[in-house]
Amino acid sequence: MNDQERIRNFCIVAHIDHGKSTLADRIIEKTGLLTEREMQEQVLDNMDLERERGITIKAQAVRTIYKAKDGKEYILNLIDTPGHVDFNYEVSRALAACDGAILVVDAAQGIEAQTLANVYLALDHDLEVFPVINKIDLPSAEPERVKDEIEDVIGLEAQDAPLISAKNGIGIEEVLEAVVEKVPAPKGDADAPLKALIFDSVYDSYKGVIVFMRIMDGKVRKGTRVKMMATGAVAEVVEVGWFGAGQFIPCEELSAGMVGYLAASIKNVKDTAVGDTVTEADRPCAEALPGYKKVQSMVYCGLYPADGAKYPDLKDALEKLTLNDASLFYEPETSVALGFGFRCGFLGLLHLEVVQERLEREYDLDLVTTAPGVVYKVYKTNGDVIELTNPSNLPDPSEIDHMEEPIVSAEIMVTKDFIGSIMELCQERRGRYLSMEYIEANRALLKYELPLNEIIYDFFDALKSRSKGYASFDYEMKAYETSKLVKLDILINKEEVDALSFIVHSDSAYERGRRMCERLKDEIPRHLFEIPIQAAVGGKVIARETVKAMRKDVLAKCYGGDITRKKKLLEKQKEGKKRMRQIGNVEIPQSAFMSVLKLDEE
């Protein structure tokens, strides 16, 4: 069975909701690896969160055995890739571990922005890509139109694409046959020095880090001393094996062409970076596999425990999360307003949300999050360059020569009716129009360059609401560009609240400042005195609101002898105060810090 001729390493690429995970489930079912009872609805999506959101967060893999129509048994290694742009690098490494890809396209919706992005990514990695048309049993299915679209837009042969319904198990055999037939077998050299690509790793409290890899050349077995070429970590292998559905199945040896895992008592996932090359310490390969990149955080925000006493718990939780998530960065920071917390770096906003939810759910923490920001480059007049992740650390304007912000190139696919409103949205977000092409009579592909800090807040939401859900969106980092950026400060009762400061383009400063003040006015309860709320840039106030003083707060009413009821009212009032943050002599509810994240919601 270890004959490379009988191995097929492939993945599935699709736009979100086009049925990737369902197809993966059916493939596992068809290959008879699991009983129906064991079959959870989506076997590959292990984490609860993934199931709820319907997306795959971490790449995973499964090895199945398929007896093809030619009577031979094939090893099918299906590598599942994350479906979100935040994890583009992970996607690219997972693709690099494959030799072919199934492109799933929804028979009703046709090609979407992510379909294109993922197909191009797969083609970039020289994968053999073949399409399947899913959801053909939908009343609105138009498989013929979609076939034409695939041929016209992507240039893939699609006339004999399997027509399937992953949900109802229609056409799955056909897909499996196509995998055997179309995905090329691996062609590694089993006798060459070990060369394996890491496409994921997880931390297990018994085995240490478990490295997910594709063996390109050579062999690895228990006792092999391996070396990670980029990080330099060296370890002795204690176990190798392949992936059952949701479990690790140990084996003697992994050799060229195979997909599997190794465990070597490695303590930290940071030593086994995605994209790194595993080789033998004593007989290293000549050069590492191409494409390795150090993970870089794209979005930063401050995470603070709502209850200051929970700081150690938050620290503990972040430590545990990073065991499994090498792309999560954190370092301690302090805020005058929020006390002790952490500045955390994420791959993107989704990653941020996932981490935040895991902290709240799995570690039962109540968090206060500051406005997410991107990494700005600050060029100082003395020649120094700072990578700014926390607005509070911005040097004095007199020391700044200029600043740069990250720009992404974005592709938005939208139906004709909404082109106008989406273009308007992109303009508002300082987008630079690049091109527009009709990919069919009713749909166009818009290309824009957009500042990353304009899309990390609520761009997805705005896109959806302005296109009634008909727009799809994908982006990738492009470059840093000089930009007129300013730090917007918020003063509450004349005191600057560091946790509310953020960097913004000078043209949007007034508008954002005004809306911040309005929002905060609704969030801050009235005090015994009047509270001015001001937005300022460089010490100059650009917007102001006032929370009027409270004049009356008394139970001037007869509750008879029911003291308990009176007391409860007072206790509620006292409790409310406890949950507030004290800034000067103003008490600010936690919700105020969060509400400014949603400035554009009405």
Binding site: K552, D553, V554, A556, K557, G560, T564, K567, L569, Q573
Partner: protein, 381 residues
């Protein structure tokens, strides 16, 4: 052993007012009869009133206690007198609404020993009364008042309200003048509170906040206007000989309501009837608020709690601070055998902010402190 107070709750009214969140509702004769029966049994029940217990205040409140037949009230008082010793000088009050009393009823009340009557006047302006959903009009108040005097009531209270929708300084001042003109012994001034579950809630909830935050909602007087009415009202009442002795209460000398003082001074009281609260030293409970349960269940007492000395002290402070006299925290520490040092910092802060003032050994709310009393009290719970 100090004398106890007794509260009797009559949860019936002619119809529910638009602002009312008290335990009261209109009811048929049968229910009223059943209720009186259960009430008599509750009072007669040996566990409720221990033998030899002296009582120097009885308060029949509601609802509208003048809605049921006077005979029912008479029987209730008779039962109380059977169950315990009512002192000769006891204050026996009944709440009544203008429009629900007759000469005959008033005479029966007097005969049964009731010596204080409290009228829910609320306003002397007919538009306001209509808006509140009251069944009476301004003229009814004077009529009832005079009838009560004729029946021999020498201690009469009028309840008034501020903060009513559309209420202006002028209208309030007229109401106050008319009330003073009748020359009652006691006047209560309550602020309208928009409570959840009332008709007003749907109409006015949030209005205060919306306006305070600069909105255009102008249905209710602003907080400033309402406070001004209260302050001007207190001044006017003082001129007329009514001294303020509690947040909402004003009286001629010697006519302070003995029963209500028991609540604020944490003296013992027993509550009978639906939802009535009782407090005996550090033991407290409340009757069920469910009529069916009240009528049928054996054990109707709910929310039993035993307070720690610290809890008692905390309550003694915030309840005592309702009174203009204020509290002597050192004395209360001795009385309850608890330590009040945890409140020192807060007391200092309140004195600094001018919300509390010193009155000899006592601390008491300042004028502004009364406006913002919840804030002051919240530091003592």
């Amino acid at each position: 052993m100090k004398n106890k107070g007794i509260y009797v709750h009559i949860p019936f009214c002619v119809r529910k007012c638009a602002y009312c969140d008290f335990l009261s509702f209109p009811a048929g004769d049968e229910l009223k009869k059943a209720y009186t029966g259960r009430l008599l049994k509750e009072i007669a029940d040996g566990s409720a009133v221990s033998e030899g217990q002296t009582v120097d205040s009885i308060f029949i409140g509601g609802g509208t206690p003048s809605v049921p037949e006077a005979a029912d009230i008479v029987r209730i008082l008779e039962q109380i007198k059977k169950s315990c010793i009512v002192t000769a000088d006891a204050e026996i009050s009944i709440e009544a609404n203008p429009g629900t009393v007759t000469e005959e009823k008033l005479a029966l009340y007097r005969e049964a020993g009731i010596n204080r009557i409290s009228f829910g006047a609320q306003s002397f302006n007919d538009d306001e009364l209509k808006l509140l959903g009251r069944i009476h009009r301004s003229g009814d108040i004077s009529e009832c008042f005079e009838a009560a005097r004729r029946a021999g009531f020498e201690n009469i209270n009028l309840d008034l309200m501020t903060g009513l929708p559309g209420q202006t300084k002028e209208v309030w001042s007229e109401t106050l003048d008319k009330a003073i003109g009748l020359s009652p012994e006691h006047i209560s001034v309550y602020s309208l509170i928009i409570e959840e579950g009332t008709a007003f809630y749907g109409r006015y909830h949030g209005a205060d906040d919306i306006r305070a935050k600069g909105g255009t909602q102008s249905l209710l007087p602003s907080e400033e206007e309402e406070r001004l009415m209260v302050v001007r009202g207190a001044e006017r009442l003082a001129e007329a000989g009514y001294a303020q002795y509690e947040i909402s209460n004003y009286a001629r000398e010697g006519y302070e309501c003995r029963h209500n003082l028991k609540y604020w001074l944490r003296e013992d009281y027993l509550g009978f009837g639906l939802g009535a609260a009782s407090c005996l030293g550090n033991f407290r409970y409340k009757n069920t608020s469910d009529m069916k349960e009240y009528l049928e269940a054996e054990d109707i007492r709910k929310d039993r709690e035993y307070l720690t000395a610290e809890e008692e002290l905390s309550e003694a402070i915030f309840l005592g601070l309702r009174l203009n006299l204020g509290v002597d925290i050192k004395e209360l520490e001795k009385e309850y055998g608890a330590d009040a040092s945890c409140y020192l910092e807060w007391t200092e802060k309140m004195l600094d902010e001018g919300l509390l003032i010193k009155k000899g050994e006592n601390i008491a709310l300042s004028g502004r402190g009364r406006d913002l009393a919840n804030y002051v009290w919240s530091g003592y719970v």
